[in-house]
Structures are given as C-alpha cells and as structure tokens.
Amino acid sequence: MAGSGKAHLRPADEVLIQVEDLVVEFPAAKKRTVKAVSGISLDVKAGETLGLVGESGCGKSTVARSLIQLPPPKSGSVVVNGVELTDLSEQGVRPHRTQLQMIFQDPISSLNPRRRVADIVAEPLRVWGPHGEEEQIEIVDRMLHAVGLDPEVARDKRPHEFSGGQCQRISIARSLVLGPKVLICDEPVSALDVSVQAQILNLLRDLKAEYGLTLVFIAHDLAVVKNVSDLVAVMYLGKLCEVAEPDDLYANAAHPYTSLLLESIPEPDPAAIIDETVDLVGEVPSSIDPPSGCRFRTRCSHATEKCANEEPQMREVSAGHHVACHHPLVAVAG
C-alpha cells in the first residue's frame, strides 16, 4: 500500500473540499520527523459523508486537523469552497473556520469544565456574530433542543454534570451554531458506550439531513464507518490504500490491507468464521522510518520486489472504486 496518485479525485467543480498531495510531518526526538501524512489526495462532494478509516498511526486524525490548518500542512493544497487555505496566514484562515467545524473523540475534554453549557454553545456566536444577547439565547436553545437536550435543564449546568453521550451532543450543538457547511468528526463515538453510540450516529445523520451538512467522519471502527459514509477511504501509515463506496469496499476489497482489516473485525455473529491463522506478529512499522515503496509490504503476503522499489499509485478498479497496490485482490479496470 502506501499509495499516491489522484486517479480517484473528481472534477474540481463538483467537490466542496479538495485535498491534494497533503504532507504533514512532526518533529521527533534526535532531529528525526514523524511522517504522519505523506502525500494524500482526497475530495468530498457537498452533502457527502467521507469516511476515513485506519488504525492508530495511519494519520487520519492528522488529515482532519490539517483541513482546518491545525496544524497547517508542510506541503500540499487544501481547497474548501474554492478557497486555498494553505496560502492563508493564521489570521487569514480564521474566518474560514466558521464553515469548517469539528467535533472530537473525548466528549468531556472537548468542553471547558469551568463554563456553563449555555456559554460554551454560545461561544462561536460571541466570537463572530453580530447577534444580540437575546438572539444568542434563542439560537443556543434551538440548537440544544435540536441535539436532544432540554435547554431549560441543561443551560446552566457544567460539563462534568453530564454523561459522555450528552457531552458529545453539547459539542455537536456548539459546532453547528454558526451554520457551517462542513462538520469534521474525529472519532466522535469511540469513547462512548455501545448503547449510546447508536444514538449519536443517528443524531448526526438527522442533523446532516436537516442542515445539509457535509461530513468528514474519522473512525477506526469499520462497521461504524460503513454505516455513516457515502465514500470510504482506507489509510495506512500516512498513505491512502483504497477509496470506494462502502458496500462495494466491504464486499470487494481490492487492497490486501483492507482485506486484513475486514477479516479482523470481530463480528457479533456466532456463526462467523474466525481466521485463526492470523497469529503471526505483524504490527504497524514506525512512521519515523517507514518502509520504502509500498508501506504495507512488510505485512503483506502478496508483496514482491516491485513493492519495495516502487510506490503504487491509485488506479481504478471499477466505477468509483480505486486502489493503490501493485497486486490488488480485484482486477484493475482497463
């Protein structure tokens, strides 16, 4: 895996967000760098939900944060609604952030523990809005109601008085008060109880429909990603492996890594066949010194010499399905 290439991108006039050749690196000890994201290109259409999935260290969260330039990428372009964000300074980016909101994995630490919920949700309005006091209250109440919380009860309480699921609702309310076009969800349900996950996923789906949002949904849980996404991108060690529509991806995985991921999912089905041969140690290599060529080759049973020498590029497998692999599991079109 470890792919580059833009074969999977759609024409620029059709998409709301376009990311090209994104590179993000962080300094590590002893003057080395962590190559968190190494040349990723993605796009998202208006009203679409892009699911970004991968295991720890793949760089999916970094991609999400680079979209809002927190931190700004080392190189590459991020175009949102026609505006090239990487060209702007920190001050220049700020107004554009109102269109790109984000919710985070840990619901409790996403909220300032010293402030009341009403203030937390109203904060974006206070920073940007010409809204008067009364109008602010009205918007906040409406938003709290929209996420399923009773404004009368919730407004004066502090975050620690709420459960994880409720805190996540408050986070969502806060992110929507400015009416953004895009909502980036960084593992929004991973820290929640199973029975609450479904509530929040349903809520996000309802809000997306109600407010016409575009979602970028990051998760490590493949079942969750399949459920919410219109398009899924699989990442590994800073590179893109495969991009496809969820039903197609899960039924006809072309990349060996995707296939490995799918086999590893513990299915809550007693009749599911568990592959017990997967016992060998194969773990994610370090992102400071990633393997040459295809970064997945060290764990891939189909790897050949070509994989070590040449980095695979994205190629089309079928309509809307692209893979970056020299030896994909499904024949490449054309």
Partner: protein, 314 residues
C-alpha cells in the same frame, strides 16, 4: 404478526436522548450546595473553618466592634490601666507590658497577618497566573525567556532579599512589605501556572476554540486562565499559612511592620521582656497564630481530599 397503530410520530425526535431533568441527571434534585459541603466536613475541619471565619470577620470589622479598646492606647500613662494585668472585665485577655489591651492587639494584629498573606497570594495569582498562562499557551521564545527569568529569580533567597530591601528603603509599613514580598512571590506562581497552562492547552476544548476561530486573547482569558486558576488556588491554600508565619517571624525579629503597629510576631517579641512576670502576653498571640495556621492547613487538606475523591473514578 403485529400491526403498528396508525398516527404519525416524528422519527427524529424519538431517536434523541431523554428529556426530563430527573432522567437526564439522576440524583440531581438534592440538597443545596453549600449546606451539603459544610455538612460533610469532619468536626475538626468544621471548627477550623469557623475559627477562620471568626478571625477574618474580626480583623475586617475591627473598627466596628463595640467596646473594643484602642490597641495602641497605653492606659498606664494616663493612669487608668495596669501593665501585665491578667484578664479583667475591661480587658478580656489582659494587658501587655505597656498596658495595651491584648485582645484588641490580637484583632488588629490579625489584620496585618491576613492582609499580608492574602495580598501576596492575590498578587501571585494575578501576576504569576497571567504570565504563566501566557508562557504555557504560546510557548516558544517567550516561554523560554520567562522560565529562565523565573528560575533565576527563584534562586535569590527571598527572606534575605526582603529584609535587605526593606532596610535599604528605611520604611517598613505594611504596604512596603507587601510590595517587596510580591517581588519574591510571583515566580513560583508563574511556574505552576505555566505547567497547568501547558496541560490545559493540550485539551480538546482549546483546539475546539481555535477551530471556531477564537482570537488568542480570548482563548487565554476564557479557556486557559479559568482552568489554571484552580491549581493556583490550591497552591495558595498552602501558601497562606506559610505567609502568615513569614510575617510573624519577621515581626518577631523586629523586621516586620514597625512598632507600635500590632502584629502577632511583634507581640510575642515584646512579651519576652517580662516573660517571667506574666506569660500571657506571649501565650495569647502564640496560641492565636498556631490555631490560625493550623486551621488553614486542615482546611487545605480537606479541600485536597475532596478534589482527589471527586476525580478518582472506579
């Protein structure tokens, strides 16, 4: 097979969470906040708390206490008081060796100690807290410079510096002591503030604030500082008794507020002269000092335990 009954329901509403207050917050319809809190203190801590309230109120309202003698009035000189007298009706705790009322001096002395301690703590929190928050949030050169300054500053011996400067200035009233003390107190608060600000800055809600497009100044004021404050307050709770003892030590050595201003340390010092005749002029201030410092420490311990148990999850 069952048939669902007719009628319309709003599907999206039903998918949302619970609605009424008791369902949302089980157990929240409980007792009031303060009563709950005071009631849970162990009896000793309750006593300490009440003692501190008494001392603070007495010191604050000293001028309004009816019948309280003038702490500097030396009755002996005017023929209507005795020196080193035991407790009497007009002097509840007796008089000192120049016939000043001990009780009045204790109360006014409390003023000195408390003002000294609380002022320095306030200055520490405001100055140290602000500088530390800025350093911890912005990082970079500013942080390096500030922390280097703090480290250097902290290596000066505070006590010696304090005494030296006040001697050089020639003045030793409370204001001067506080200002000079402030010079030595701000670095430790800055350090704590910076460490806390560092960890707070890493939290998601700060990233969320940046993602909203909040200005840096607003983030500092609204997100960082309020979360740095609890750590500073906790530190102050320990700092208060230390500062009270510091002030008393200085007064005892004759290096604190100038006589004849009443202060506990000064009272103990003065009582040394006639210690063999009457120990009470020494005992009363010593006991008051001890009880006040102990009360602060006891209360601080309890607050810390409360904070710890609340955050300990199962």
């Amino acid at each position: 097979m069952s048939k669902s009954s007719g009628g319309t329901w709003a599907p999206s509403m039903l998918r949302r969470g619970p609605r009424n207050a008791e369902q949302m917050f089980p157990g929240s319809s409980g007792k009031s906040w303060f009563g709950n809190w005071f009631g849970k203190m162990p009896w000793l801590t309750k006593l300490c708390f009440l003692w501190l309230i008494l001392v603070i109120l007495a010191a604050a309202l000293a001028d309004l206490i009816p019948g309280l003698a003038d702490p500097n009035y030396q009755g002996f000189v005017f023929g209507d008081g005795k020196t080193n007298e035991g407790p009497t009706a007009s002097h509840w705790l007796g008089t000192d060796n120049v016939s000043r009322d001990i009780l009045a001096r204790l109360i006014y002395g409390a003023r000195v100690s408390l003002i000294f301690a609380f002022s320095l703590v306030a200055i520490g929190i405001i100055v140290g807290g602000t500088l530390g928050s800025i350093a911890g949030y912005f990082r970079g050169l500013l942080e390096t410079f500030l922390m280097a300054l703090v480290d250097t500053w902290l290596s000066f011996p505070a006590l010696i510096g304090l005494v030296f400067i006040t001697t050089m200035l020639g003045m030793r009233n409370l204001l001067v002591l506080v200002l000079v003390g402030a010079v030595f107190v701000w670095p430790s608060y800055t350090r704590i503030a910076r460490a806390t600000a560092l960890s707070v800055s890493g939290q998601d809600f700060v990233t969320a604030a940046r993602a909203i497009g909040t200005s840096r100044k607003r983030i500092l004021v609204r997100e960082i500082f309020p979360n740095v404050l609890p750590a500073l307050l906790a530190y102050s709770l320990v700092g208060l008794p230390v500062l009270i003892i510091l002030e008393s030590t200085l007064s005892f050595l004759g290096l604190g507020v100038e006589i004849p201003t009443a202060s506990w340390g000064g009272m103990i010092n003065q009582a040394r002269q006639d210690l063999l005749i009457n120990i009470w002029p020494a005992v009363w201030p010593a006991v008051t000092l001890f009880m006040t410092v102990y009360s602060f420490n006891n209360l601080a311990d309890w607050v810390r335990t409360q904070a710890a148990t609340r955050s300990a999850a199962i």
